[in-house]
Subunit: 446 residues, 2 copies
């Protein structure tokens, strides 16, 4: 993309209404615009990151055999009356009536609807195991929306639901989700720690939240520092192998890690003192096994191998897709702006032309631009007639992980400059070498 | 995808509520489920086609330099009060108040919001031309939703908006959209004819609707038969070239083609009688230049080269993304089911194993399955223990354009059978030859 043809309304002033750094940077970098309290437009740069995050979530879910579908944003009240949650949900649920006075709502979550779908079509244990998920806009009418996309009212969420014959199978689905989530967050450059969570009004015994450590997190968290040394990495996993998935669960959840809701001072005290940590965290996902409650209320029953009708064992598993943009920025920025991890960056590299209009410099930039595209990369070429300082400031603000600077002086020596946004370090190299280096950096990522 | 692990709830019975063939077939093929009047879940197969259609729309818009963003589904009433449409819109607009009693609505379209965005950030003619678009769910509270996704209440639409300094530039944007739309529909296997449309309450002089001819279409259309011989094909186009885009407009709109709303019996009568056609059509898109009305009301002004403040010239351009699934099926089916054009098929080919459990047949199917995937294709492998008749009926119903049948008798001769869904013709060939043939068919499509 050429910046002269892009729509990137960066702001010079820091918006007064933004209390936390991710909100400030998303506004300043021209990623979002508030349309109403807690309701945002995703401008082209923000939309691009949102799509990359969505793509990673889709890929990791589908690797585990989970099937994508799409439920609508609006639901009829009827299903929620069956589950008993229509009255229980409170003023966070946006309710209204349509022109025929039917009671409707904007879905805050989808347990009822997905259970209704499965109840309608699945009647035999042979159709199991089954995990369906979607990535769809939800609405929760927060009384005080704030922190930009971190606590919006209209937000994008991945919610997945497993349907299994037995508790054992459903706990395998639980473990499978844990593995997919570890992979998903790592691909986004995040360390998200699974912490034992409170099951809350939905009920159930097995639930973990995934928290990203950040000073601005809404939850207080307590953990054994050993847990921060764990990474899933690129190890192979057979999602059908129950023992293998169970081993990952044990590896990542056996050490103490809890939010203030489930914190147990006595258990925490048993960790050697030098490993005890308390910090703040941002919740970016949750997995949950809750048994047969919804299946029973909504009639999701199957015939088992003995011919008996039994209710399905279910769990629901969420990832806060739009919120993740905020969480990533909270975890990865400096005083100049955002620092995107390579996995989610909106463009793979920025090209800064130091002397727009100079024939040789323009030609080198064009060669770089085409060369990166030929490698399957997407560069953002700042081809505006602006001073170098302004171009650098924009690139730093929007946080592309790599910048290639092209100027007449370097070209005389036959070099361009490749700069890491994270370290600030620059290296001179030939133009083709820069293309090759970037292709190598993004191998297996882009 | 292996069918044993997929969620494809095909129905044997024809649902009584469905009046038109696309609605019947989408229900029978397990593509959609009605959740409330005019509100559907997209089950995995339907979701996959929806995503392919979305992808084609994105690609063709971006080739023309149009920039994607994403506006929210909910809007505050305020903007619509500014434009004067809040009261004018009538009961099709879904209105409600949030917990703080603020007036809100579920967006039926986005002229107001996009103009507000551009007004906020664009102040100089140097930022032009600018075309922004999104693909987002909309809601129109139709009094009598029907025909499945063809006239739903919650529907997915691409709506794009151009902002230009002059009428001339805006008409170039209009022509550019016409070209992108021709390419978009052709890639979906559709002939969509641009017909002069009625500008309606939104006002403006330049507007064309794109109509797909189908017996079940909601509009009566009148046209010169010569128009059905035109195709855009894979010709190269420079979207920046005004004359080139204007020539395409002239080529595709100079012959008589109108809906009943703009039909002119006298002009129609001037066409040689043997070329006069009347038929029915389904509207799948519309392009529209309407001038400066919204810019003036919502303050989208720029400084021009002479330093004068002038309002932007705008147009809006829509494609009915979810409705297109219905339109494609209306145009392409037979009594056995859907016939997907290669450009939008949910899976590139079906594999039917005639003797599941037979070691040699299973091995051949696995080889085919892996071989097609290695070519970047996505096969649907019917690996269930079912009779051949049932497997063929499912494949015909869901409409994959190509089927490979693998059985012990063929394998003894060293062949599998490749069958076209469209013609019903089969050809025997070696397994590797079938893989190569399919790769060739989808070259440049998949």
């Amino acid at each position: 993309m050429r910046l002269s043809r892009y729509f990137l309304p960066v702001l010079k002033e820091t918006p007064a209404e933004a209390q936390i750094v991710s909100h400030r940077l998303m506004l300043r970098a021209g990623m979002i615009r508030q349309q109403a309290a807690g309701i945002y437009s995703w401008l082209p740069l923000g939309y691009k990151v949102l799509k990359r995050i969505e793509q990673i979530v889709h890929e990791e879910q589908q690797k585990a055999g989970h099937l994508p579908l799409l439920m609508p944003t609006l639901q009829s009240a009827e299903l929620w009356q069956k589950s008993g949650r229509y009255d229980a949900y409170g003023p966070e649920m946006l309710r209204f009536t349509d022109r025929h006075d039917r009671e409707m709502l904007y879905g805050p979550t989808n347990e009822e609807m997905i259970t209704d779908i499965v109840a309608a079509y699945v009647s035999s244990y042979k159709a199991l195991p089954l995990t369906l998920y979607h990535i769809q806009w939800k609405f929760r009418d927060e009384v005080r929306p704030r922190f930009g996309v971190m606590r919006g009212r209209e937000f994008l969420m991945k919610d997945g639901y497993n349907f299994d014959l037995t508790k054992e199978d459903a706990l395998h689905a639980y473990n499978r989700h844990l593995v997919t989530y570890l992979r998903t967050y790592e691909r986004m450059g995040l360390q998200a720690i699974p912490m034992r969570a409170d099951s809350g009004p939905i009920g159930g015994d097995y639930t973990h939240e995934f928290l990203v450590l950040a000073e601005t997190g809404e939850s207080e968290v307590f953990y054994d520092s050993e847990i921060t040394e764990l990474t899933f990495g690129d190890r192979a996993i057979d999602y059908d192998d129950k023992a293998e998935c169970q081993a990952v669960l044990e590896e990542f959840t056996s050490r103490y890690a809890r939010t203030d809701e489930t914190h147990d001072e006595a258990a925490f005290g048993e960790i050697p003192e030098e490993r005890r940590r308390s910090a703040r965290g941002i919740e970016v996902g949750q997995i949950f096994y809750f048994g047969t409650e919804y299946s029973e209320k909504l009639g999701a029953m199957v015939t088992d191998a003995e011919g008996q009708k039994v209710p399905l064992h279910m769990g629901s598993h969420g990832i806060g897709v739009s919120r993740l943009l905020g969480a990533i920025i909270e975890a990865s920025h400096d005083d100049k702006g955002i620092i995107w991890p390579e996995g989610v960056t909106p463009f793979h590299a920025g090209i800064v032309n130091l002397r727009q209009g100079d024939a040789a410099t323009d030609a080198a930039c064009e060669q770089l631009y085409a060369g990166l595209q030929a490698k399957g990369l997407e560069p953002l070429y700042d081809d505006r007639d602006e001073r170098a300082g302004g171009k650098f400031a924009t690139m730093d603000l929007i946080g592309l992980p790599w910048r290639v600077t092209v100027g007449p002086r370097g070209l005389e020596k036959g070099v361009v400059e490749l700069t890491s946004r994270k370290t600030g370090e620059s290296e001179e190299m030939g133009l083709e070498a820069a293309i090759d280096r970037l292709a190598q950096i993004y191998e297996g990522i882009a």
